[in-house]
């Protein structure tokens, strides 16, 4: 018990929580944007891999860290455009298109990595983002700028969604595309835009792993984080503020299990602790499912003039 209190009272623990939460915040916001416009994006897992690889490769090739972030966002946007063409333009199954996108993006990244580095055993490293410092805030000081960016994006996206005509349009095409079209909103364009923007965020979420949390690209480094973001959006009832809360709560348990494991007080096999994040996600889905109010048009393709 005292050990638990010790962990909770330590600054490094909360630093870890925020660090673990960052890719989840970015990814969850990305999924949220897509789903608010009525489109499921299961491509997230692959887009994160591609963002992690593309961002890292850009920096490794000698460009700046922020150029790497931009590259990851561009890769995400491009993959999002493909998803938008398949699901919005051609009205194909959003489930299948997303899964296909994940497979494609992952395979392309791994292939690219092997072509670029055919023989290396230890992954080549870069100099990642340094902690910001100088803000005078104990936990935030130890974070990199990408964490600050993620935190700032939460109120920004909430503001856009709820306070601007653009946000109203996004929410309308996710709830009732026919009514939105009646109001003169170009449904397909708004959906495409939301997917592209959301996917760009997913790309940055992946880049955080290689440019901030670690300094190299590893196989399987995304390891299901994308799927957890998909679960977190349901948990958050499609609201940016709650998405932040969910990501932090999740990261809290993830960081806690790691500490308990390291402290040697873990009596159970370590794998059981590693299962916790996934089981928690499922639990969150079950708890929230009853009162979850899905965007009404989620996963329903929209074809002009067809009922």
């Amino acid at each position: 018990m005292t050990e638990l209190l010790d962990i909770l009272a330590s600054v490094p623990f909360w630093v870890a929580v925020l660090r673990v939460a960052t890719p989840l915040i970015l990814g969850t916001l990305g999924v949220l944007l897509c789903e608010r416009a009525g489109v499921l994006n299961l491509g997230i897992e692959g887009i994160m891999v591609a963002g992690a690889f593309g961002g890292w490769l850009t920096v490794y090739a000698g460009h700046g860290l922020w150029t790497g972030v931009l590259a990851a966002a561009a890769i995400g946007a491009l993959l999002g455009l493909l998803h938008a063409w398949l699901t919005v333009g051609l009205a194909l199954s959003q489930h299948v298109s997303g899964l296909g996108l994940t497979m494609l993006a992952t395979a392309l990244s791994y292939y690219g990595y092997r072509v670029a580095f055919p023989k290396v055993e230890t992954p080549p490293t870069i100099t990642p983002f340094a902690p910001m410092q100088g803000l005078g805030l104990p936990v935030l000081d130890a974070q990199t700028p990408l964490t600050l960016l993620a935190l700032l994006l939460v109120p920004l996206i909430a503001w856009v969604l709820y306070r601007t005509p653009l946000g109203l349009a996004v929410r309308m095409v996710g709830e009732n595309p026919r009514a939105a079209e009646g109001q003169g909103i170009r449904v397909l364009a708004v959906r495409t835009g939301a997917i592209v923007a959301g996917s760009a965020l997913m790309g940055v979420a992946g880049a955080f792993l290689t440019l901030s949390a670690f300094n190299a690209f590893y196989f399987n480094m995304v390891n299901g984080r994308g799927w957890i973001c998909v679960a977190l959006v349901v948990f958050a009832s499609w609201r940016p503020g709650k998405a932040l809360l969910g990501a932090l709560l999740f990261a809290f348990f993830d960081a806690l299990q790691l500490r308990l494991q390291q402290s040697g007080s873990a009596v159970l096999p370590y794998q059981l602790y590693l299962m916790l994040p996934y089981l928690l996600s499922i639990l969150a889905l079950v708890v929230v499912a009853r009162k979850a109010t899905y965007p009404q048009a989620l996963m329903k393709p929209y074809r002009k003039g067809e009922r």
Binding site: Y278, L279, A292
Partner: protein, 352 residues
């Protein structure tokens, strides 16, 4: 631009579309081969040769196709009901674990029953284990409306960690010199060879028989009709008196059971024990195979041989010419998306 439904999809389009999709896939992947600095024609020739160019290559491809047929069927039957089971990977491992739990040597303390009793028991246990692993997500979907895609996906990670824990602990083979591998299967439970001196085992016949059985079930029985009705429109099906929840449970049992069998047959036919890497993503490839086959159980066999050929061929191509084996995954993923698009254009045409 908008899409307009064709009154009657033409036969030529239906046959030509998949071929065009594959050609497009090969062209696009060819660009990646060029990027790797290899000649495209020779790379594809080596790939084809590695997949089908000799008796050895063919048997290797068919051996690889066995688990893919089963996971492909698992995905096909579920997707037909619009139940997106993405968890075949976890269900496969559940089946593999159940198989060694029932039929394992357990350091000489294994069940000393006749193989004629023990083998069917082992297969039933594996199918049940896979089915049970999917039952939770199915009930969560039917009762609470929880999206099954995310739950089945997350359970894959849970199962792999469970396998890892079991191979470290209770099911670890003490004879394995510290390797994380399960106890071995009793030798008399192993499947016989279909072609001597190769790895091809009689599991292939079982997988093909199951494909025929699934085709019959889907096309010729009331249960199959209900599954298709729930997939076409769950609300209308419920209105017409189809028991939707019960049908979804049946689908989960069938789908999870098939994936569980994939694990058991891999253990009995090829590996003899469970390891953490016994499946290089067969569960996920099954999804692609089901989609390539248009969810037709007989088409699954053909699609599984195609995907197995690409995977096996890429391995031997990579050894010969140094293009990364991940080319196979790119080809499979592009083929999936291209076939989807091609399929759409046989149903719809563009109208300006």
């Amino acid at each position: 631009m908008r899409l307009e439904k064709r009154p009657q999809p033409s036969r030529a389009a239906q046959l030509g579309a998949p071929l065009l999709a594959i050609l497009f896939t090969l062209a696009l992947s060819g660009v990646l081969v060029l990027w790797a600095g290899a000649p495209v024609g020779r790379t594809y020739a080596l790939l084809l040769q590695g997949a089908f160019g000799s008796t050895f290559a063919i048997t290797e491809t068919l051996t690889r196709a066995v688990p893919l047929i089963l996971t492909g069927l698992a995905a096909a039957v579920a997707f037909k009901a619009h139940f997106y089971n993405i968890g075949a990977e976890g269900q496969l491992y559940a089946g593999a674990l159940a198989a060694v739990a029932v039929g394992g040597l357990h350091g000489g303390t294994g069940l000393e029953w006749s193989p004629y009793v023990l083998f069917p028991l082992m297969m039933i246990a594996a199918a049940l284990a896979g089915a049970l692993w999917l039952l939770g997500p199915a009930l969560m979907k039917a009762r609470l409306g929880v999206d099954e895609v995310v739950t089945t996906l997350l359970l894959n990670f849970v199962m792999l960690l469970a396998v890892s824990a079991l191979l470290d602990g209770p099911m670890k083979d003490p004879m394995a010199m510290g390797w994380p591998q399960s106890v071995a299967l009793q030798p008399d439970l192993e499947l016989g060879k279909l072609v001597p001196q190769t790895r091809l085992h009689t599991g292939l016949l079982g997988a093909v028989a199951l494909a025929v059985a699934m085709w019959t079930l889907m096309a010729r029985t009331v249960a199959g009709f209900r599954i298709r009705a729930v997939g076409a429109n769950a609300r209308a099906a419920a209105f017409a008196g189809v028991p939707v929840t019960r049908t979804l449970v049946l689908v989960a049992l069938l789908s999870g059971g098939l994936a569980g069998l994939a694990g058991a047959i891999e253990v009995a036919g090829r590996t003899g024990y469970v390891t953490l890497d016994m499946s290089p993503g067969y569960g996920y490839s099954g999804i692609v195979i089901a989609m390539l086959a248009g969810l037709n159980p007989l088409g699954v066999v053909a699609a599984a041989v195609f995907v197995a050929g690409v995977l096996v061929g890429a391995d031997s191509m990579s050894r010969a010419i140094g293009v990364p084996t991940y080319l196979a995954d790119v080809i499979v993923a592009v083929a999936l998306l291209a076939v989807l698009v091609a399929g759409l254009f046989t149903q719809y045409r563009i109208k300006r």
